[in-house]
């Protein structure tokens, strides 16, 4: 633990990798510590068609290029680690890993991103991969000619439901509210598709089956009425949760578990910045994460040189 880095970045999604590119290019001794796969939510996206300057690309391609850029500028990256503790106060901050190692730095950028929200109902873990999926692009063709449910009411849910009609004979969208949160164009695309039907104001309560998923229990929220629906598959797209559980009581976090930052991505702890999907903000896109990571790295650079 002798080496003290200038910057430790926690997370290697769009925000973390961008921060790594900027800080290492500024000749700051930079280390990225990443608990998951490099690329974060970017690799959950099959195609990125709205990244300015790039007509269309795969999410994993963008992630791989960002990783190479960061490494080429001298940034070190350690992934698949598990963080068990922090000491972020004072001039030298320490991050403790489960394998016993600790790393120190003069500043820290928190970019842990988010993770797909689960339903957390009985049967979800049991039937993951045998009827329950979180990726239409990956698993859609396993449900060719079958009847499936898509859970959710945002852009991902409606767009993926339309995609899944290329495989499934029938798609039923189950949404907890009576209106959708998705953009209007996504709603219209889903509504005009003859193979999509809707169950609104309802939630799934249980997954049932033997070797594979066979049915779900659905609750009509207005009446509490439970019904069982035979189904071959369920795709779940109900948004993301910020990965900030371990940061509570360390930096200021709001009721939605998002880290509160100012316009320079500074947290309430001196020398600690945050960027990407973990911070309190309205829009979560690759472009906004990249912008956050840039600002956080520039702010950290300014902090270290002041």
């Amino acid at each position: 633990m002798d080496e003290v880095f200038d910057v430790i970045i926690l997370g290697a999604g769009a925000a973390g990798l961008t921060a790594g590119i900027y800080s290492s290019r500024a000749r700051l001794n930079t280390l990225i510590l990443n608990e998951g796969a490099i690329g974060g939510q970017m690799i959950m996206t099959d195609e990125i068609a709205n990244y300015p300057g790039v007509e269309t690309t795969k999410g994993f391609n963008v992630a791989n290029i960002m990783k190479k850029q960061a490494k080429n500028f001298g940034c070190r990256i350690k992934s698949n680690i598990r963080i068990i503790g922090y000491n972020l106060t004072g001039n030298v901050k320490t991050v403790h890993l489960a394998d016993g190692r600790s790393f120190q730095a003069k500043s820290v950028i928190l970019a842990p991103g988010g993770k797909p929200r689960l339903l957390n109902i009985p049967g979800e873990e049991q039937f993951k991969g045998t009827g329950i999926s979180y990726c239409a692009t990956c698993d859609g063709d396993f449900f060719t000619g079958k009847e499936i449910i898509v859970v959710g009411g945002g852009n991902s849910a409606l767009e993926e439901a339309v995609t899944l009609t290329n495989f499934a004979s029938k798609v039923t969208i189950v949404h907890q509210f009576d209106i959708f949160q998705a953009f209007e164009h996504a709603i219209q695309e889903a509504k005009k598709n003859p193979n999509i039907s809707f169950i609104m104001g309802s939630e799934l309560r249980e997954f049932k089956g033997n070797e594979t998923l066979e049915s779900v229990i659905i609750e009509k929220l207005s009446t509490g009425e439970l019904s069982e629906m035979k189904i071959d598959g369920v795709f779940i797209f109900i948004g993301y949760l910020p990965n900030t559980e371990s940061l509570k009581n360390i930096v200021m976090i709001n009721q939605r578990n998002e880290i509160i930052v100012d316009q320079d991505m500074k947290t309430d702890v001196q020398g600690v910045f945050a960027a990407g999907d973990c911070i309190a903000k309205k829009y979560r896109q690759v472009t906004t994460a990249v912008a956050d990571g840039t600002i956080a790295a520039l702010s950290a650079t300014e902090y270290l040189r002041s």
């Binding site: 690329g39 996206t45 994993f60 990726c135 396993f142």
Partner: protein
């Protein structure tokens, strides 16, 4: 023809798969695509190659007909989520998992079957 962009060695044919599992005591093969459920497993395998020299790690494209010994394996019956990850001990498939598995889950299988 290689189908996967990963640093993990890729098996291209069924005969190559057969040869590898018969010549190595412990083999893990992740059969998938370049998708969000598969890429994290390839990344984990890349790291495990250094940490577990007792195991040979390979990937294989799910969409090639050559992958049928994995796709149609009895242990993979009912699987409807990529990747299909299979583990061979002395040429025999001893474990198969479906969909995304994190590093701890993979290590747990390695520890259980490859002691």
């Amino acid at each position: 023809m290689k189908m996967l962009e990963t640093a993990v060695n890729e098996i291209e044919t069924a005969s190559e798969l057969e040869k590898i599992i018969n010549e190595n005591e412990n083999v893990m093969v992740c059969c998938g695509r370049m998708g969000p459920m598969c890429i994290p497993v390839y990344d984990d395998m890349e790291e495990l190659e250094e940490e577990r020299p007792d195991v040979k790690f390979y990937v294989m494209g799910f969409d090639t007909p050559e992958a049928s010994p994995i796709r149609n394996a009895p242990m993979c019956r009912g699987f409807m989520g990529l990747p299909f990850t299979v583990y061979y001990k002395n040429g025999k498939m001893v474990k198969a998992t479906t969909s995304l598995q994190d590093k701890d889950q993979i290590v747990s299988v390695l520890d259980q079957f490859f002691v």
